[in-house]
């Protein structure tokens, strides 16, 4: 099939359901008199007024910055520790029970304690994001590093690919499919924790704004904030898919060729 046509078809499939849902929402809410569920038209008008204004800098930017720093921190710490633990059996056995315990604590439960120790500033919020998002990255990295192929490992040794070169050319690429899977989970956890930490105690940010609007009965504004959070998550996940497709091109190709052969 013509590539343009195929692309059009894919886009058509992807857009059909969202268009239907938005239309339904629009029609059903059009003459709504329910104070808490205003017409979609009102929400959208408010959306423009609220977010394409001073709030973009005052609330959206701080949220996105916390998210970016917290997420990056979680990935760096998770991959770093994961490589260490994955490569060292003793270390893994010693730390495993403790890690499982910390992983089992729902991250939002840590917020009150973290805020006591780290204050209610940006640092505390970044720590909250890291403390929740680090786990999927860490555990996936450990698994990926442990599963490095024996033959490839022997090959690397016999060709002098050791030390830092081994990490760079063998261990990290071999673990990358698992690492990326962990990073994807960590992204959604990061967004959740960003919002919750801002709802808890903050003076700006998206989570703060939504709560603020709700408490001051600015209902269309509140709805528009939720819509914006949804859009933010959606755009980030699209960007992540692009990143995944680029960085794991070899992996998807390898999988396809293996499926073709079997």
């Amino acid at each position: 099939m013509n590539p343009v046509l195929r692309w059009g078809r894919t886009l058509g499939f992807a857009l059909t359901l969202p268009v239907i849902l938005v239309t339904l929402w629009w029609v059903w809410s059009a003459d709504s008199t329910n104070y808490y569920a205003p017409p979609l038209q009102t929400i959208l008008t408010t959306f423009g007024d609220v977010w394409f204004s001073e709030r973009l800098r005052a609330d959206v930017l701080p949220s996105v910055t916390r998210l970016a720093i917290g997420y990056t921190g979680a990935v760096v710490v998770g991959v770093g520790l994961g490589v260490l633990l994955g490569a060292n059996r003793t270390l893994r056995r010693v730390t495993e029970p403790v890690l499982e315990f910390f992983r089992a604590i729902p991250p939002p439960a840590l917020i009150p304690i973290l805020f006591l120790f780290a204050g209610i500033g940006d640092t505390a919020k970044v720590i909250v994001i890291i403390s929740g998002a680090v786990w999927p990255v860490l555990l996936n990295t450990v698994e990926g590093v442990r599963a490095v192929d024996d033959v490839l490992s022997d090959t690397s040794r016999s060709y002098g690919v050791t030390g830092a070169a081994r990490l760079r050319h063998l261990v990290l690429p071999a673990a990358s499919p698992q690492i990326v899977a962990g990073m994807r989970q960590a992204l959604s956890i990061s967004i959740i924790l960003m919002v919750i930490s801002e709802m808890f105690a903050s003076t700006n940010g998206l989570g703060f704004s939504v709560i603020q609007f709700q408490r001051s009965f600015a209902i269309p504004e509140m709805w528009s904030g939720i819509l914006l959070l949804g859009l933010l998550g959606f755009v980030l996940s699209l960007l992540f898919q692009l990143f995944e497709r680029r960085s794991l091109r070899w992996y998807h190709g390898l999988r396809r060729s293996q499926r073709g052969e079997n």
């Binding site: 192929d149 022997d154 016999s158 060709y159 071999a174 070899w250 992996y251 390898l254 060729s257």
Partner: protein, 286 residues
């Protein structure tokens, strides 16, 4: 005779684990001269891979020494390159063909111009000049093994170790690759130690064939192959001398199956049982 390039003296390897010890290799002593092409053939499960890993410096022998050009091997030596059986698992799937061949050269700290030259020449030598930017998984099995051979050749080793490299490719490809090995050997003058379970392959390729016993392994025979140096699949394999040699090695292997380095243990097993056991082992081996 001059000092041998590779010297294997009294190598023994015993694996210890979960309360029992398994003696894979009992006592192996042989040497390979500079520029020789030696095949090691043995029944399945004869500890061929264990032996090869000991020689390559990937495994520490329990006893005995391996010496390469006068220096004791206690880790993978730079003058050695290994080609493994599992081509699909020995190439980096995240690197192109070119990247795979080039990486070991980067580790050798060769400059870029020299690396490019070696990569190009090696890929040309194995007949893959036009696929350098493909990924290994886009190639057929035979071509992937050619890439692995090109990587070994580009590394400019004194000794090339090959561990059943053609066991997983089809018969046609296998014949082509065997001829490729002979021609590379002639062209480069490299010393080759080729491990196989295929008797015909060992006789066709080698100047010498070392016949191994079953595990725990010893050398049963060191046989010189007096076939003419120019070998072709059609003529060499149909010559009477080839038939004699392969028949001889076949007999030795049959003997080897019934006789371990440890004779008494084997006597308790009936021949039928042994044949069955060997089939099972062959499936596990590949």
């Amino acid at each position: 005779m001059t000092q041998p390039l590779l010297d294997v003296a009294g190598v023994q390897k015993t694996y210890t684990g979960s309360g029992r010890t398994v003696e894979a290799v009992r006592d192996l002593t042989f040497s390979v001269g500079d520029g020789e092409l030696v095949c090691i053939v043995g029944p399945s499960g004869a500890g061929k891979t264990t032996l090869l890993k000991c020689i390559a410096g990937l495994l520490e022998p329990t006893a005995g020494t391996v010496t390469l050009a006068g220096a004791r091997v206690d880790g993978p030596p730079e003058a050695m390159a290994v080609v493994f059986q599992e081509y699909g698992r020995s190439l980096y799937p995240w690197m192109t063909v070119e990247g795979n061949v080039e990486l070991p050269l980067k580790q050798k700290k060769l400059d870029k111009a020299r690396r490019r030259e070696l990569v190009r020449d090696a890929l040309e030598a194995v007949g893959l000049a036009d696929v350098h930017s493909a990924y290994p998984w886009q190639l057929s099995g035979g071509m992937q093994q050619r890439v692995a051979i090109a990587r070994a050749v580009a590394y400019e080793p004194k000794v090339l170790l090959m561990d059943e490299p053609f066991a997983a490719v089809d018969a046609q490809t296998r014949a082509d690759l065997e001829d490729l090995i002979r021609s590379l050997w002639h062209k480069l003058g490299v010393t080759i130690l080729f491990v196989t379970h295929d008797i015909d392959e060992s006789v066709y390729l080698g100047q010498r064939v070392l016949v191994l016993s079953s595990s725990p392994t010893v050398i049963m025979e060191d046989l010189a192959i007096d076939l003419p140096d120019e070998r072709t699949q059609l003529e060499t394999r149909s010559s009477p001398r080839f038939a004699e040699l392969r028949g001889h090695v076949y007999e030795q292997i049959q003997l080897a199956k019934h006789r371990k380095g440890d004779q008494h243990q084997r006597d308790e097993v009936t021949p039928a049982r042994t044949a069955h056991g060997a089939t099972v082992a062959a499936q596990h081996d590949s």
